[in-house]
Amino acid sequence: MLGRIRAALADRPGPVTVPRDYDRTREAADPLALLAERIEDYRAVVHRVDAAGLPGRIATSLAARGARRMAAPVDLPTSWLAPEVTWRPDTDQSLTIDELDGIDGVLTGCAVAVAETGTLVLDAGEAQGRRVLTLLPDYHLCVVRADQVAVSLPEALARLDGTRPLTFVSGPSATSDIELNRVEGVHGPRTLEVVIVTGG
C-alpha cells in the first residue's frame, strides 16, 4: 500500500506550511464562572465551593441524590468520603462490571477542565481510576480544582499526555437522534454533577 501511496503522489505536492494564527490561549474574566455556565448549558448540575466547604458539599449532594453505595477510585482524598455512604474502592480493579452496573454512582476528580466548552477531561490519573468507573454507574459526581481549569481547548490539550487513556466529558450522555430532541442519558451516566473548588 505504501507503494500505491507513493505512486499516487507522483506529482510531488510540496510540503505545506500550516498557518497557526488561531488563538492558542484566550482570556476569560472569570474562568471558573465560565466553566460553570458552560457545563450548566448541558443541563448538568454545578456547585462552586471553597476547599473547606468541599466535604460538606459532597455529602449534601450524595444525600440529595439518595446515593448510599458509591464506587471510588482507590486514591480519593479521605476527606471526600462522606461517612453516611458505603464506599466501594476499586482496589486492583476489584469492582466487577455487574457491581458497577448496580451501584448508585461514582465520585472522581479530573485531570483538566476546559472553561470555554464546559469539558472535563479524565486521564485515569489521580482520583480518577480506570475508565469504566465513570461509565457504568448512572450518576457521576466530579470534583474540579481551580488550578485544573484551562480557558481554551488548545491550553487543555497542551497539559495532557495523549498516550494515557483519556475521556473528555461535556455534560451527561445524550442523544439527539429522535427528531433532534436532546435526551439525556442513553448509555453513559444520565446525571452529571460537578463541584468546582475555588481557591486551589
Partner: protein, 476 residues
C-alpha cells in the same frame, strides 16, 4: 461481491431515486425540519469562536500536509501503535478488511460484535460480510439501531435516522425489540430508555467491539473517537478485544493538531461547543480497557483518490455533515437517494472517486446531484472546494462517455473556468450561468444531464451573487 463496497448494489441512478424520494412528503418534511434546525444551530456555534477562519485554514493545511506525505505518517502511526501493544493491519480493499475483522473475531471466540457507528465499516459492508461468516454485528448508536431494526438505509452521516419521526421509531421498536414495554409511547425519552435496556446486556457481555476512528495521531499512536451517547465508550472500554477500522486519511501528524480538529468538528457537526464524549486511547493500557487492540488501516480506493490532483482534497473530509445540511438538493431527496454510504455533497464527490475503475452508472450520476450553489464549501470546516471537484468529475464522466459531445465541451470549459478563481468570476459575470435558465427564481430546465434532475423537480436558482463573488466583496 464488488471489491470496494461504498454503494448499495441495485440502487437506481440518482435522478431516478430522487424522483421516488421527492414523492415522499413525510420524508421531505422530516428532512427539511432537521436540516433547517441543524443549520441554524451550527451558525450560532461557529459564530462564537472569534478565530473560526484561521482554524479552518489550519485544518485545511494540516490535512494537506498529511496527504502530501501520507506514507511517512502512516508508518509513524504504525510504529507508535505497535510500541504501545497494539497490532496494525493494512487492508487494500473491503474484502481484505472484512476478512481481517472476521478472522480476529473468530480468534477471540465470539459470534457477536458490538459496534459504534463507523462510516468506514459501512463503506466496506462489514455487517453483511460478518453475517456471511456467522458473526452478528450489533449497531449500538441509537440512530444506527433504528436503521438496523427497521431494515432501512441510513440517510444522514450524523443522524442516520433523520428521515424517521418518533411515531415511526416507536413502531419499529415495538415490532423488533422483544423486550420493549407494550405501552411505550413515542416520547423520545422513553424510546431512548428502551434502547438503553435493549443494549445494556450486550455491552456487558460482548467480547469483541468494532469501531471507526475520527482521528489518529502519528506521533503518539493515539486514536480518537467522538460521540454522544456513551455507546462508543462502552465499546472502547468493556470488551476484551477492540478492532478499529480507519481510513488511511484519518491520520494527523501530532497531538497538538487535535486542538484544531476538536474545535472544528463538534461545532460543524452537532453544533455543540463539544460533543458529550471524546475518547482517546493508545495501544493497550494494562488494567484499563481492552487487552487486545487491532488497528486496520483501510485503503479501499483512497490511494486512487489521492492520485487525482483536483479530487484528492475530498480526503480532507472529517465527516462532520455540515455540507449535507446546507445542500438544497440533499434537503429535498434525503441521503438514501445517493445510493451510497456517503450522501450529500461530500458523497457526490467521494463515492465515484473511491470506486475508481469500479465506478458504475449510479455512482457516475452523483456529481450531477448538485446545483453548484457553493454553500457546501462555505460551511466545510476543512475548506473542501466541493463545487470545483464536482465540475472536475462531471468533465471526466462526460469525457469517458464521448470525447467530443457538446456536453464534453461545455463541461471541460466549465472545469477550466472553475479551476481558477478569476476565470470563474469572469465566466459567471459573463453568463450568469444558472440564472439564464431560471424563470421566477426556479430553474425549470437544465441541459442534459441536469435535465434528468429538473424534469422531476424545480431547483432553486443559484443566488444572483455567487458565493465566491460575495466572498471577494466581503473579505477581499
Amino acid at each position: 461481491m464488488a471489491g470496494r463496497g461504498v454503494t448499495w448494489l441495485g440502487t437506481p441512478t440518482f435522478p431516478k431515486a430522487a424522483r421516488t424520494a421527492l414523492a415522499d412528503t413525510q420524508l421531505r418534511t422530516n428532512l427539511r425540519n432537521a436540516t433547517t434546525t441543524i443549520r441554524g444551530k451550527r451558525a450560532g456555534a461557529v459564530a462564537e469562536l472569534p478565530d473560526w477562519e484561521p482554524l479552518r485554514l489550519a485544518g485545511e493545511a494540516i490535512k494537506d500536509e498529511v496527504l502530501a506525505d501520507l506514507g511517512t505518517y502512516l508508518e509513524r502511526l504504525e510504529a507508535a501503535v505497535t510500541a504501545r501493544g497494539g497490532v496494525v493491519h493494512w487492508a487494500r480493499d473491503a474484502v481484505e478488511a472484512n476478512e481481517i475483522v472476521l478472522r480476529l473475531t473468530r480468534e477471540a471466540g465470539a459470534d457477536e460484535v458490538v459496534k459504534i457507528k463507523s462510516m468506514a465499516t459501512a463503506e466496506i459492508g462489514l455487517n453483511e460480510a460478518l453475517a456471511e461468516g456467522g458473526v452478528q454485528a450489533v449497531e449500538t448508536d441509537l440512530a444506527e439501531l433504528i436503521v438496523q431494526l427497521g431494515e432501512d438505509r441510513p440517510s444522514h452521516i450524523l443522524v442516520p435516522a433523520i428521515h424517521r419521526n418518533r411515531s415511526e421509531i416507536r413502531e419499529i421498536f415495538r415490532r423488533e425489540m422483544p423486550d420493549v414495554p407494550e405501552d411505550i409511547t413515542d416520547e423520545p425519552r422513553e424510546l431512548a430508555e428502551a434502547a438503553r435496556r435493549h443494549l445494556r446486556q450486550k455491552f456487558l457481555t460482548a467480547k469483541v467491539a468494532v469501531s471507526g476512528a475520527n482521528f489518529a495521531v502519528a506521533d503518539s499512536g493515539s486514536v480518537v473517537v467522538v460521540e454522544s451517547e456513551g455507546n462508543g465508550r462502552m465499546c472502547l472500554t468493556l470488551p476484551e478485544t477492540l478492532i478499529t477500522v480507519m481510513g488511511i486519511e484519518k491520520v494527523v501528524p501530532t497531538w497538538s493538531d487535535l486542538e484544531v480538529f476538536l474545535q472544528l468538528l463538534p461545532r460543524s457537526s452537532t453544533a455543540e461547543r463539544m460533543n458529550p464524549y471524546t475518547s482517546v486511547w493508545t495501544g493497550v493500557t494494562p488494567g484499563d480497557g481492552p487487552k487486545n487492540f487491532h488497528l486496520i488501516l483501510l485503503d479501499n480506493g483512497r490511494t486512487d483518490t489521492l492520485a487525482d490532483t483536483v479530487g484528492r482534497q475530498a480526503l480532507r473530509c472529517i465527516r462532520c455533515s455540515a455540507c449535507l445540511n446546507v445542500c438544497p438538493v440533499y434537503e429535498r431527496t434525503g441521503g438514501a437517494a445517493y445510493g451510497s454510504v456517503y450522501p450529500g455533497p461530500i458523497g457526490a464527490i467521494l463515492t465515484p472517486q473511491l470506486l475508481g475503475e469500479d465506478v458504475d452508472k449510479q455512482a457516475r450520476s452523483l456529481p450531477y446531484a448538485s446545483s453548484l450553489c457553493g454553500a457546501c464549501f462555505e460551511v466545510c470546516p476543512v475548506r473542501i472546494d466541493i463545487p470545483e471537484v464536482l465540475v472536475h468529475l462531471r468533465a471526466e464522466a462526460v469525457q469517458a462517455k464521448n470525447k467530443t459531445s457538446p456536453e464534453a465541451v461545455a463541461m471541460a470549459a466549465l472545469a477550466w473556468a472553475m479551476g481558477d478563481a478569476r476565470r470563474w468570476a469572469a465566466a459567471q459575470k459573463a453568463a450568469g450561468i444558472g440564472r439564464l435558465l431560471s424563470r421566477g427564481g426556479r430553474i425549470t430546465s437544465l441541459p442534459w444531464p441536469g435535465s434528468k434532475w429538473t424534469s422531476s423537480r424545480d431547483l432553486p436558482a443559484p443566488p444572483k451573487e455567487t458565493f465566491r463573488a460575495w466572498w471577494r466583496r466581503t473579505r477581499g
